[in-house]
Symmetry: C2
Subunit: 118 residues, 2 copies
Amino acid sequence: MTKQNFELNGRIWLEVGGEKMLGHGRVELLERIQASGSIRQAALQMKMSYKQAWDLINHINSHFKKPVVVSQRGGKGGGKAVVTADGLKLIAQFHQLHASFSDFLKQHSGEFDLTNQD
Amino acid sequence: MTKQNFELNGRIWLEVGGEKMLGHGRVELLERIQASGSIRQAALQMKMSYKQAWDLINHINSHFKKPVVVSQRGGKGGGKAVVTADGLKLIAQFHQLHASFSDFLKQHSGEFDLTNQD
DNA sequence: TAGCGTTATGTTTTAAAAAACATAACGATG
DNA sequence: CATCGTTATGTTTTTTAAAACATAACGCTA
């Protein structure tokens, strides 16, 4: 009898109007924007193009009642971006939820089993 | 104060060797194969091409130690396909797990909240 | 006031994924 | 022993998504 080796995995995310809005990747992007004060730097760190990062946060901003990132161009350093209080709240809430989800996956990871008598 | 309307959502799946192997869609495919005795009929029901369905179950079969579907061509009706005992076991185990996951999502769906004093 | 680095946005090109198409093999059955 | 409906598989085309490229706007700062 040889035992099949399984792993349980999954993803969770936040939706607004049925549209995916905030998952693991976008939360990381927000965190890096907050840490660096720059969309460009955050994008570089995550190996995505500036445009891709900008499109993402623009999409989020335009679907929430209040923006999660506010930015300005020109000035010292060329411009900057900061995560709003709401954005920070979302990051924290997502982390908390994701920790519960990780527990869930770990707790149920043994439930797949094809062991039998052969 | 206007409240942002959130929904929590997610997916879970089974992996073998880090590769996604069995999630919601493939489980449904297996069920329809079992119910109809035919890959073609299952594919039609799910509005996918026969090739796509076949590629999926072939991929699964070749990554598990024992196949989840066995099939034969020719003969009465042109051929047939049946889900193995292991396959049926996986379906059942996935359903059980997915029910727990649905509970998880429901229980935590209220954890996102941006309500504040403005 | 020219230059710098970043935000903001549109367009074009490339790559990946999906769909469509085509065809052989098979075995009961009439 | 030809037909039928399905399994099995490869190839081509289309669609979609991602990446690359290009450029304007902006406001400090030297």
